[in-house]
Structures are given as C-alpha cells and as structure tokens.
C-alpha cells in the first residue's frame, strides 16, 4: 500500500516536472538568454569600424566603460538622465494613483452590483484590448487637437476650450498613461474583488458594521494583494513606456526614461549605454517586485 503510494507520488512529481518543462524552457530561452545578452552588450565594446555594439560574452572581460558613461550622465555636471528619471517617477506615481482612484470603484461596481449584466460589463472592459494600443493613442491626437472634440466639449460646458493639449504638457502625458494602462488594472482588481467571499461581508454586517466600515475593515484589506498586483501590472509598463510620451508631447521637458533608452538604442555607438540603463531600470523595478512576492506569500499564509 505504502509502496504504491510512493510510486504514485514519484510519478506525480515527474508529471509536474514534465508539465513545467515547456514553461521553464520558454523562460530560459526568452528571458534568461536575452537578459544575459543585454549584460554582454552593457559590458561590451564598440566596433570602431561600423560604430555598432560588440557584446562580450565572457563576464571576466566585461568593461565598465558604458556604466561609467551612464553614471556620469545621471549624476555628473552635465547630467541629463537624472531629471528624466525623477520625471518618470513623478509621472508614473501620479498616473498610478489616478488609475487606482478610477479603476477601483469600477471594478467594485462590476463585481458586487452588476448582477446579471456582469458579463456585459466585462466584455465592455475588455473591449479596448481589441483595438491596438497604438491606434487608441493615435485617436487621442484628433480628440485633443485645438479644434478637436475635447476642447469643444470643454467650451460647451463653459470651460476654456482652447487649450493646446498636445503642446508638450505633462498633464497630457500622465492622462495618456492612465488611459493606456487602466484596463489592465480594472481587470486585475475585478478578478480579486470578485473572489472575495460574500459571506464574509454578510458576517461583518451581521456583526453590526456599517456598509462603509465593512468596506474599509473587510473588503479593502482582503483586496490588498490585488491592489498591489494590479498596480505593478500597470506601473511596470508605464515606467518603460516611450511611445505614449512621444505621441502626446514629444517635448524635451516631458522626457521619460523610456525615451532616453530609445534614443540611445538608435544612436550609433550608444547601444551599450542603452543596455546599462535598461538593466538599471530592471534592478529598480525588481525591488517592488520582491516586496510583492514577500507580501503575497505572507498574505497567503495568513489566510490559509
């Protein structure tokens, strides 16, 4: 009896390893290898003949030339990357808060009050994905023009309707980021909120909590991991985004880190610096990621 259960167990384990293999290979080929290639470019040199980057594959021979070049552009006297980094933090911070403020009520409504129309609302939420991100952003150019619908709508309700939204304004970039990534956040929040056991809320009400206090004391704490996950899913692409910015503003005064990296990748002989900057960004983004993993692990232990 015990023997056969052990072989079952072993067979089960082999099965799971087999099932995990494609994913693991996928990760290895499409994440680990490119990541290593990026390191090799960052630590590599330049082909002086063609001004193209030459990756160095042996870590022992990596050079720090690109790193020190980037570093001097971040903190040195003529630094221009530092301000772009700061701007990126501020823009994505505001955009994330704004997204949350808009997305949470929407997701809450759909999960708790949509009733039989839940499917319809979900379809409507997913609908933006049917249109390519680029097209959705391009549509804003026409809407935001000086004689465009947005300005007309503003002036029809008595607000100043001649704002040049596309003239290099920070607010346009931030709103563009919010618009572009908010569907992801709503979907994640919806999935999390929908999973909250309704009987917990009933219990809270039975024990005398008001609707408001039930929300604050039960729903919000239970949805905390979802909020964190959703925020990451939206903030990570926002931080690296360059196209929204290029389209909505294109002014030097609104440059974000993604634009700097893009510029370096297109400049002859600066690919290595672009790789360094991308890696720096990755390391910075890893910190909240690790926090997320720890906090969800802790949360699942608490609720287990």
């Amino acid at each position: 009896m015990r023997g056969s259960s052990r072989t079952d167990h072993r067979r089960g384990r082999l099965l799971w390893i087999g099932l995990a293999a494609p994913g693991a290979i996928w990760l290895l080929v499409l994440f680990v290898l490119p990541f290593y290639a990026m390191l090799s470019v960052a630590g590599g040199g330049i082909n002086a003949f063609f001004q193209t980057s030459v990756p160095i594959w042996n870590p022992l021979h990596w050079s720090t030339a690109n790193l020190s070049m980037v570093w001097s552009n971040i903190v040195g006297s003529g630094a221009f990357i530092g301000p772009a980094m700061l701007r990126t933090l501020i823009y994505t911070g505001i955009a994330a808060l704004l997204s949350l403020a808009i997305a949470y009520p929407v997701a809450y409504f759909v999960s708790r009050y949509a009733g039989r129309r839940k499917a319809l609302y979900l379809v409507l939420l997913i609908a933006p994905f049917w249109v390519s991100y680029m097209m959705r952003m391009l549509a804003w150019i026409d809407l935001l023009q000086q004689g465009g619908f947005f300005n007309k709508a503003l002036s029809s309700v008595g607000l100043p309707g001649n704002t040049d939204w596309l003239g290099g304004k920070s607010v346009t970039v931030i709103l563009g980021l919010v618009y572009g990534y908010i569907p992801y956040l709503i979907l994640v929040l919806y999935a999390g909120l929908d999973r909250i056991d309704g009987s917990l809320l009933d219990a809270a009400r039975d024990l005398g909590l008001s609707r408001w206090r039930t929300f604050w004391r039960v729903t919000v704490p239970l949805s905390k991991p979802t909020i964190i996950a959703g925020t990451f899913i939206t903030v990570l692409p926002m931080i690296g985004d360059y196209y929204t910015n290029q389209l909505m503003s294109a002014a030097p005064g609104t440059t974000m880190i993604g634009n700097v990296i893009e510029g370096q990748l297109e400049a002859a002989g600066q690919t290595g610096q672009g790789a360094v900057l991308s890696l720096m960004l990755l390391i910075v983004l890893l910190i909240p990621m690790i926090y997320y993993v720890i906090s969800t692990a802790r949360a699942s232990r608490e609720y287990a």
């Binding site: 002086a48 003949f49 003529g78 297109e266 002859a268």
Partner: protein
C-alpha cells in the same frame, strides 16, 4: 541624418490619394526615433588597419584634425569633403563584374532599403522586364543596416546607404565596384554625379534621393518671414513649434541660425554654442519629432523644421477644405541649407550582380524615377525631373515647388558628412542633453 530614420514597417505602404483623408496611415509610423544618429558610422575607424584610401584626402593619418571642414584621416579612412574629394581604391580581390553578361535566370533580386523608401510597383515592372522575382527587406536606421551587413551573412544585391558609410563599405569590401557599361542611364543624372566628391569617377555608387532641410510653416497662422530663426521667434506660438528629431539636423539648425556654415564642425566651442542656442527653445515649449508631413497640414504644428521630401507629400494630409496655400516650405535661396543624398550600391554578398547593375540602371530612368517619386515623395537628382515637369504632371502643387532640389544645391549646399569620432560624440552628447534633458 536620414528622413527615414526610425520608420517602422507597417507604416505607409503607399501615399493616400489626395481626397482620401487618410492622414492616420503615416502617423502609425513609430517615427521620430529620439536622439537618433546615424551620422558617424565611420567615425574613428580604429580597427580598419592601414590606409586603404587614396586620392585627395591624404591628410594627417590617424585621428581627427580640429580644423573644421578639412578632410581628415580617421583611422585610415579618408573623410570625403567637397574640397577634398576621395577616389576609392579598386582592390584586386574585389573587381567589377565583366561586361556583357546575361542577367541571372530564375533569380530573386534582393533589395535592402529604408522603410517606405521605394515604390514596389517600379520593382515589379523591373522584374517583369527581366523575368526575375524580388525580395525587399527594410531597415530602420543606418546603424542597424551596417551592423547586419557587417556580419557578412546577408545575401542582398542592392543597398541604399547614406554617403557617410561609404568608406567602411568600400574598405570592408562589402560593396562591389560598378561596371559602368551596364549603367548608361547615368547620363540622366545631374552631371555632378559622374564625379561626386565622395566617390570620384562614380566607381562604386549612383545617386538615389536628394533632399534639402528647411522650415515648414502655416502661412495662415504664422506671421513671420521664413528663416532659420523661426523657432526662436515663435514665442507667440508656444507648443506649436517643432524640430526634426535628428542630432545632425538639430545642431545644424542652431549653427545656421548663428550664421555658421560649417555643418561638419569639430570645434567644441561652436557645438557648445549651438547647444545653448537650442536650450533657449524651452521657452517656446519646443517639441521634437519627424512628423513634419502630417503635423503641419493638420495644424498640430505651425512651425516645423522640415525635410523637402516630406513637405512635397504634405499637401496630401490637409484636412478637407483647407487650401494648399496655407503650406509653406522655405530653404534659403542662397542654397546655404543642409543638402543630402542617398546612394545605390551593389553588395558583394548578393548572388545577382548583373541584375543589380541592371536595377541600378533602371532606377536612373526618368520615367521610373518619377513613378518612384509618386510614392516616396523624395526626388532623384535627374536632369529631366524639374519643378515645372512635376507640376505639369500634377505630382506636385506649385505652392510647394520650393521642395524641388536644384542641381546647384549639390554644389553649393551644405552636406552633413561623417565626423571624426570625438567630434561626433560631442554632437551626439550636445543633442542628447537638449532633446532629453530640459
């Protein structure tokens, strides 16, 4: 240094008909690669080893000279300049093909070109005539193209490079000297192209597109006399002023505004002064993009640093009801404007050298060149392609005749050529600080 820099595939496949109102199609381009740069692929060719280059550019070997404008040796490859022309060597291991060969049969002609920079209808006609197939492969930046060609793995026949990469192409034997007997249509090109300073005796190249840089503006919105100073005078037009996203063009604009005519300067003081001049533009909330051809007609931008070939196509993006008269393109009448042209070359890696020669010849045919123009917007320097002709054939509205480049521009205009490495770094650095740092 190229209008197609950073264009992505999936953009325009053809130009919209004038009444189609299809402005979005060009906008789809991920255009506007920031920072940009293909300029100095050549700069500082430390590894080239030996002085392969002969000819007029015999200057001080190795390293940049600081005297601006003078052709100098950079690690062995001469920097071609109008006043110090270069005649490239013909290597014994890389000779032209023999005369009188038959075109390859059952062949696939491989063309390597910028995105949206050739009319495929013209290639199809060529293939009908010579009974071949073709494959068009595109690149977004000259650095990308050179990196891929440098691997030696690609089998392309025809390539459309910029002038500044000619040195590395010749010295690495990536391109084959032309057998001129296959290319009688060179007679259609401006006479200068039979002996251009960058390739004396046109041993390796024929010209492709030529274009000027200037200022585009909305005559109905902007009340300024056109000049290089327009962006700096644009305080009234805050948010409506844009520069081209290109380090060579951007810094050249500031140099020209201050009357500096050496657009290949290596003088740090001049480059720095140009950077400071650009920095003043933050007061007009300057934007940086390459959408001159859509943003001026649609009114998103009123003053745009622009390329002639883009503006030649711009009227097709005017919203319904807006007359063509509102569009203006200015380039200085004294011809002191940036002028650049591209090249057609035969790559050694390709399997069809004869077809490649015939194709290069085919593109120099006046009829084919004009058919190509209807799609690309950039003209080829052929004597018969003139403003009156393009206007008469209704391919260009008379209001935009200033976009047509005259033969004298090639002689008297200001070419943006390859810089020595240290100077190129200074140019790139100055531009980065302006375009990304304000």
């Amino acid at each position: 240094m190229h209008p197609r820099e950073g264009w992505s595939e999936g953009g325009i496949r053809r130009r919209p008909e004038p009444d189609e109102g299809d402005a979005i199609s060009r906008r789809q381009l991920l255009g506007a690669g920031a920072g940009v740069a293909l300029g100095a692929l050549l700069a500082g060719c430390g590894s080239s080893g030996g002085t392969g280059g002969t000819g007029g550019a015999g200057g001080g070997a190795g390293g940049a000279t600081s005297s601006s404008g003078a052709a100098s040796m950079s690690g062995g490859i001469p920097l071609a300049r109008p006043n110090t022309p270069v005649k490239w060597p013909i290597y014994s291991s890389n000779k032209p093909i023999a005369s009188g060969l038959k075109p390859e049969q059952n062949a696939t002609l491989q063309i390597y070109n910028w995105v949206a920079y050739i009319n495929e209808a013209v290639i199809k006609n060529f293939c009908k005539k010579y009974n071949c197939k073709y494959q068009l492969t595109t690149f977004n930046t000259m650095s990308e193209a050179m990196a891929k060609l440098g691997t030696g793995q690609l089998k392309f026949d025809v390539f459309i490079p910029t002038i500044d990469v000619l040195g590395p192409l010749v010295e690495s034997k990536l391109i084959r000297p032309l057998n001129q007997s296959y290319i009688p249509n060179i007679a259609n090109a401006w006479p200068d192209y039979r002996n251009p300073f960058y390739d004396q005796g046109w041993q390796y190249t024929t010209p492709y597109s030529i274009y000027t840089t200037g200022m585009a503006w909305r005559k109905d919105k902007v009340n300024l006399a056109p000049s290089w100073n327009m962006p700096w005078e644009g305080a009234k037009y805050k948010g409506k002023v844009a520069l081209l996203d290109d380090y060579r063009e951007g810094i050249s604009l500031a140099l020209l505004r201050d009357g500096k005519l050496d657009l290949n300067t290596t003088d740090p003081a001049q480059i720095q002064a140009a950077g400071s001049a650009l920095a003043q533009l933050s007061s007009v909330n300057i934007r940086i993009d390459n959408n001159d051809y859509t943003d001026v007609p649609t009114g998103k931008t009123w003053i745009h640093h622009a390329w002639s070939g883009d503006m030649a196509a711009s009227y097709q993006y005017l919203p319904k009801g807006t007359p063509i008269d509102v569009l203006g393109y200015w380039t200085p009448p004294d011809k002191k404007a940036p002028v650049n042209n591209d090249l057609m070359v035969n790559l050694t890696g390709g399997a069809n050298p004869v077809l490649a020669h015939l194709f290069i010849n085919y593109m120099l045919d006046v009829h084919n060149a004009i058919e190509n123009y209807t799609y690309v917007g950039y003209m080829q320097p052929l004597t018969a392609v003139t403003a009156p002709r393009l206007i008469k054939e209704k391919l260009l509205p008379p209001q935009l005749s200033s976009t047509v480049v005259l033969p004298s521009y090639f002689r008297e205009g200001l070419l943006e050529l390859e810089l020595p490495e240290s100077a190129n770094l200074a140019w790139e650095d100055t531009w980065n600080k302006f375009s990304k740092g304000l």
